[in-house]
């Protein structure tokens, strides 16, 4: 498969005063792959995403997203990237359609086109029945699904999903993971998925990156990492073991 890097960073660093959030991050994500972004809370994953989006300026190093510099060409980057933050924000006093319509307008999609898209998107994430309910009354799972619907409306070529399954029940988690998979397959989207749900990440990721204390400890396909760390060549290896191995090494 002809693959090229769509997201690339080189010695990307960010510090707040004396506190280093991300240090010397160099990695890349290939076009149309699902990249699982792992790491404990506070390891700098969200900061990395913000730097890739151009919302935060790196202290040093550079990043390129879809051949644009997020610092200088933030608007271009934001056009091709869909971002769902960890605590996904919607306007509680508006219903799902109004929320999505607002997003469509911000993306310069004319109302005539967006109304069809919104209907399709809500249908595909199973929110059609609740479309005219105020988002304030939505459950956590429904809000996350609305977030996926937002990605459908925007149709970016890259999606950054920050903890999309956090706090969801198993059924909800499965649904979100399925939607993510279908986004990747049907729309050929590149997906950067940050999550603590290792089983799910293992199920859908092409490659993973493990970030601990602001450093990228390992990058690669799960089987390769397993072979390297645990010395086993077994398809049945669980990501949990690999992850814990890396984690213990760094802590030690």
């Amino acid at each position: 498969m002809d693959q090229r890097a769509i997201v690339e960073t080189h010695q990307l660093s960010k510090s707040y005063g004396n506190q280093v959030a991300v240090s010397d991050l160099t990695f890349s994500i290939q076009e149309s792959e699902i990249f699982g972004f792992l790491g404990p809370n506070g390891s700098g994953k969200t900061t990395t995403l913000l730097m890739l989006l151009g919302l935060t300026e790196p202290t040093s190093g550079w990043a390129r997203v879809a051949n644009c510099d997020p610092v200088k060409e933030a608007i271009k980057v934001k056009k091709v990237v869909g971002y769902i933050p960890e605590n996904i924000g919607f306007y509680d006093d508006m219903d799902a359609i109004e929320n999505l319509k607002f997003i469509a307008r911000l993306n310069n999609i004319p109302d005539s086109i967006s109304s069809i898209k919104i209907e399709e998107a809500l249908e595909s994430v199973g929110l059609k029945e609740e479309a005219e309910k105020k988002v304030g009354a939505y459950s956590r799972g429904m809000r996350q699904r609305l977030g996926i619907a937002e990605i459908h409306i925007k149709e970016p070529s890259i999606a950054f999903l920050d903890e999309p399954t956090l706090g969801l029940d198993p059924e909800g988690t499965n649904r979100i993971i399925e939607y993510i998979q279908s986004l990747s397959r049907e729309k050929n989207m590149t997906i950067l998925l940050s999550s603590h749900d290792l089983k799910q990440v293992q199920k859908i990721s092409d490659r993973i990156g493990i970030m601990i204390k602001g450093r990228m400890i390992a990058v690669g396909p799960i089987e390769e990492l397993a072979k390297e760390k645990l010395g086993v060549d077994d398809k049945e290896i669980s990501l949990d073991d690999v992850y814990m191995k890396y984690f213990q090494e760094v802590s030690a």
Binding site: I75, E86, N87, G89, D93, F102, I103
Partner: protein
């Protein structure tokens, strides 16, 4: 300016459909109608049987009646409109997590704050304009005098000044909503600023004047000292935009007033002239008299917005 239109539309819809706008508007409309009604009844009684003086229509706005005049009411209560419309504009989005989502859309970051400020100004303009129109209509039926061209111009200029004045307070409240993360904190801070400017600056002016140029029995006799005292008091009190607004609108809406200075400060001849010849000032002359006040008022409005713009553009937007 990508995105500013979408944000403007959404904010405007939010303003007009919010309970706080409805309550505020109802309150202001009610007070202004009652005030105008009382002033109008009083005026028509006083004026019955005598020739109508010039600019009687403007007296509708400036006569104090039993309570206060409409101009005084707007000067005192107007800031609240601006403060209530803006005190949670940014920090509510921040705490709801919508700010980082907004910022990750392909729009310039300043569209967010520009759209919010403009929609606020537009809301204020509509609110004031409709109230002035309703009040004028009521006044027409009560005193039965059609306003002249100059009077209409004066009311129009008064409207523009008032929009700037209230937008200044909107700018203050948006600035506080950027600076303070908590909605309650920014609400309290805006209220504190309002109270500070409406009561404490004038009090402070007296205190400063008393401290710097004390007036006792001996110095009371000395006109030089009295003048210095009063001048100092005025300068300090002009620090309050409320005072600026009061001075400028008083001149614009009342052609009989010829100076923003107080009577004490005038020389004997000047005082004689202004009291002796009770002829109204032309519109252009009125504007000329208050031009420094107007420019200052507009400048502080822009400075205030510019400050919030600067702080907002430099602040980091992180999802919480």
């Amino acid at each position: 300016m990508t995105g500013i239109g979408a944000i403007f539309r959404k904010e405007l819809a939010d303003h007009f459909s919010s309970y706080r706008f409805v309550i505020l508007f109802a309150l202001i409309a009610m007070v202004s109608l009652i005030t105008t009604y009382m002033v109008g009844i009083g005026l028509s009684e006083e004026l019955s049987g005598i020739a109508k003086p010039k600019f009687v229509f403007l007296m509708l706005f400036t006569s104090t009646g039993p309570l206060f005049s409409l101009v005084q009411f707007v000067a005192f209560f107007g800031p609240l409109i601006g403060l209530i419309l803006g005190f949670d504009s940014i920090n509510r989005e921040r705490s709801a997590g919508t700010l980082s989502k907004l910022a990750s859309q392909p729009i310039y970051r300043d569209s967010i704050i520009n759209g919010k400020f403009l929609s606020g100004v537009f809301t204020i303009a509509i609110m004031l304009m409709s109230i002035l129109l309703v009040v004028s209509g009521l006044g027409l039926t009560l005193i039965g005098v059609v306003p002249g061209v100059e009077e209409v111009w004066r009311i129009f200029i008064y409207l523009i000044i008032s929009i700037f004045y209230i937008s200044f307070w909107l700018g203050i409240s948006i600035l506080f909503s950027i600076l303070f993360r908590g909605i309650a904190t920014s609400a309290l801070a805006t209220l504190a600023i309002w109270i500070f400017f409406s009561f404490f600056v004038s009090m402070g002016a007296t205190v400063v004047a008393n401290a710097m140029v004390p007036l006792d029995r001996a110095t009371m006799e000395d006109p030089e000292m009295v003048m210095r005292h009063v001048r100092l008091q005025r300068v300090v009190s002009l620090l309050s935009p409320m005072q600026l607004y009061n001075d400028s609108t008083a001149i614009i809406i009342d052609p009989m007033r010829k100076t923003t200075g107080s009577l004490v400060l005038m020389g004997a001849v000047e005082r004689l002239l202004s009291e002796r010849f009770r002829r109204p000032l032309g519109l252009s002359q009125s504007i000329y008299v208050v031009l420094p006040h107007l420019i200052t008022l507009i400048a502080v409005t822009f400075i205030c917005f510019g400050l919030s713009y600067y702080v907002f553009m430099r602040q980091e937007i992180r999802p919480i």
